[in-house]
Symmetry: C2
Subunit: 488 residues, 2 copies
């Protein structure tokens, strides 16, 4: 059968909610495998697993906590027999609703599969379980002088399995790439409950790059049970600096010129006035509250090269009218500057009851015009917006403030979000940099992919996951979403 | 239909050789699209396309030279109507037989699709056609201060389309990764003749990473017609050095210690005595002819960091008893050292009528033991072997010398090659670093993949390319290979 002859997959598969009797049966089978303790099914126990860090919600029927790959394979087989959807969940920090069980079913939580299985320093590899918290790997490697590069802002809680599912990025993506650039191989469980290894410990394994295909597939193709990652030596020197601007455009143009000059810092983050004020009130990191924009930049490497990079960056900042350029004098100040950035989303919580984060990408050179359009769009809808983002990558994160108690406000927020993504797509960019498509951006996939492109992708899903029990309703539009999704 | 329910694909599809009448018909249809001039079909014209840089051979029925994506799509549709296999071909420099039309059919040659379509320096992107010679891109970018990183030793002739098909590497893979790390998006023609775009200009596009899947798929899933690549600024400083050792183990241990120390040079290449003698006789690059091994190393970046790296590398080399450490004093000497390395395969042609290059990968720490085993295996079969390889990556290239006029020698060479790959696999490595599987290593896939792993891969092929007209007989074993393959 040809990939283009496969049936279209936009028709919703039938997921009947489990009856009480049937649910009891599934719970019993799962308990036989995992022990009763690791099969949650009371309404109270399930509440925690209804939401993640997005704005959607959905109730699971059962939550399971496997301890081994074999457990996961058995769970998948049981789910298959009862035709029950399966949603894998790391720490629930995802921003696009990837871990929301919109059709109910079984949520697999990886809390118990959180071990570092192997560290091979000489060959710069480690093997970990999916439930390992991102930061814990670097903490464990630190004493030996190594770390794991991808550093989402949620790295203190998010898991490496979740990072693999969403192909997560972070501030240091600029120079080091996203999760897919740091994962060399996976052990996965397929929708049939088979255990398969893809990739390996080397850079380029023969045959198809299934590792690349599976990373970022948002739980729709497989469930990762073991992850082989690259580890790298800690840099000899790290310097962190901020540059303060009275005009957003000056900050944007600084970013473009730094990159084009050939200096590629490890990170270039931008924060605008609204964010600076929120961050400063919250973290007291020493950010100016009256500036139009601040760039937080970091360079790392050998001492001498860091010193030279800093010199070049300072001179480019000055050329673009930076009011102040300040280099952190010690590790404490450096950590404080980063704490301000990494807690920015939380800090915004102080000034608004709710907020919605967008995640568009544009070519760096288009930053000035796109940031202006973001302001105009939000102004048009009477919404406040702040920007805190990976400027070096052109990866925007506009935070739109709102209050769902105000009638119509949520719809205006969603509409503004959509228009921002349209602007990003028109500028030659894309609709998500690192947060994933999930439930949030299914419709927006059409902004950047043709019907043929989307059909090819959906048919890859159909080939792997024909009954669509693995994370159904994500990535591609499905009609008839369940009624119990929180209707914003 | 489930991916695991798809029919097994190891059964050879029926490719009947085209009858003269039918061939005339196909030629006529192709000529209507391309013009007669760009459809080659006389035995004389076809001779050139029977072989690539591997040791296999196969006669095409027709060779076509398309000028546009639309041409390629039309060719694919015509081939589909007549059930004729299609093999894409770049410059024919591949070492694993990927461009050999073992079942005959149509070979698509991309000589006319060799343009740079777009260069966007500010956003570090370029868009090229598949027939562009690898080095031509860097040459074109040079005056603006940029280059394209992947640099296979054949870069003066190989094409970027071919590099995409094989996921090619090169000496600088060590720090910068292989082709897949430098390609962000593709326009491809599917086996149905549809034109599809995958990926884009940004790092992480939403949905499945089909770009990753297609790169390195060796022509079995699609034909690339447009390639979006990353370009990077030329480094401020580059220093190249050689270290001369009297013992292979000292050279190997130096490599391991350099990497583990956190200094990651841009390249670490190793050459053994046999190769040094051949290279020196050919290129007069100033390599010692009586050493056991030489490491050719390069560091690049900002001036200061290069100076510091060189200092650290020299001290590690001395610790491991390097007899001499010499840094190229100027660009001319640097180019000469590299010319010696990049012409090594050619130089070996001076001392042996034929040679066979293997391409295994092992963890760096296993280099000493594996190199010893390579010697023992070749000695056992009475064969001479030289080693010239990407030591930093643990990517071996043993060159086994032979003379096919000596009865039984070819079979001994193949057997030695097989045993070397077994040793690599047992050492936790893999069977090809950068040359691909092609025709050469189909059987060896089983050394590193389980039956389930291989079935999943083959079923991906079946889903995309159900009639297996795209480069049939490659990557996975197919019984009943054609009789006109040169039987070594």
């Amino acid at each position: 059968m040809s990939i283009t002859e496969l049936p279209p997959t936009t028709v919703s598969p039938a997921y009947e909610r489990l009856s009480a009797a049937r649910k009891a049966e599934v719970v019993r089978e799962l308990s036989n495998v995992l022990g009763e303790r690791y099969v949650l099914h009371s309404p109270y126990d399930l509440t925690l697993y209804e939401y993640d860090a997005s704005i959607d919600r959905g109730k699971p029927d059962i939550v399971v906590l496997p301890a081994t790959t074999q457990d996961v394979a058995e769970i998948v087989k049981i789910a298959g027999r009862y035709h029950v959807p399966i949603v894998p969940r790391g720490a629930g920090t995802g921003l696009s609703g990837g871990a929301i069980p919109i059709y109910g079913g079984i949520v697999i939580v990886f809390t118990r599969m959180n071990r570092i299985l192997e560290v091979d320093v000489d060959n710069l590899r480690a093997v970990v379980q999916p439930g390992l918290v991102n930061l814990h790997l670097s903490v464990a490697l630190g004493p030996q002088g190594f770390y794991y590069v991808p550093d989402p802002s949620s790295q203190r809680s998010c898991t490496i399995g979740g990072n693999v599912g969403e192909n997560a990025g972070g501030p240091h993506t600029l120079i080091y790439g996203v999760t897919t650039n740091h994962v060399l191989g996976l052990e996965v469980v397929t929708p049939e409950g088979e255990i398969v290894e893809v990739g390996g410990t080397t850079y380029d394994t023969p045959g198809y790059d299934l590792t690349g295909l599976l990373i970022g597939s948002e739980g729709t193709l497989c469930i990762a049970t073991k992850i082989i990652v690259r580890i790298v030596p800690l840099p000899e020197a790290v310097k962190t600096m901020i540059a303060v601007f009275d005009e957003m455009d000056d900050a944007s143009n600084t970013v473009t010129e730094i990159i084009a000059s050939g200096v590629i810092p490890a990170a270039i983050e931008m924060m605008d006035r609204m964010i600076l004020q929120a961050v400063e009130a919250d973290t007291h990191a020493g950010y100016p509250m009256n500036a139009a924009a601040v760039l937080l930049m970091e360079t790392e490497g050998l001492k001498e090269s860091v010193a030279e990079q800093i010199e070049q960056i300072v001179s480019i900042c000055r050329k673009h009218h930076a009011r102040v350029v300040r280099i952190a004098v010690d590790e404490a100040e450096r950590q404080l500057l980063w704490a301000g950035r990494k807690n920015a989303f939380g800090a915004v919580g102080r000034i608004s009851p709710e907020f919605y984060v967008q995640d568009g990408v544009v070519p760096r050179t288009k930053l000035p015009i796109v940031l202006r359009r973001v302001s105009e769009i939000c102004e048009h809808y009477g919404l406040k917006v702040g920007n805190v983002f990976h400027a070096g990558d052109g990866n925007l994160h506009p935070l739109i403030l709102f209050d769902s108690q105000i009638p119509g406000e949520v719809e205006r927020v969603r509409q503004a979000g959509r228009e921002i993504l349209e602007v990003c797509a028109q500028a030659g960019g894309t609709i998500t940099g690192e947060h994933g498509v999930g439930l949030e951006k299914q419709a927006e996939m059409a902004l950047i992919f043709s019907d043929t492109d989307l059909r090819i992708m959906q048919q890859v899903r159909t080939a792997w996951n024909p009954r669509q029990l693995f994370n159904p309703g994500k990535l591609f539009p499905l009609p008839g979403r369940c009624a119990d999704i929180k209707q914003l």
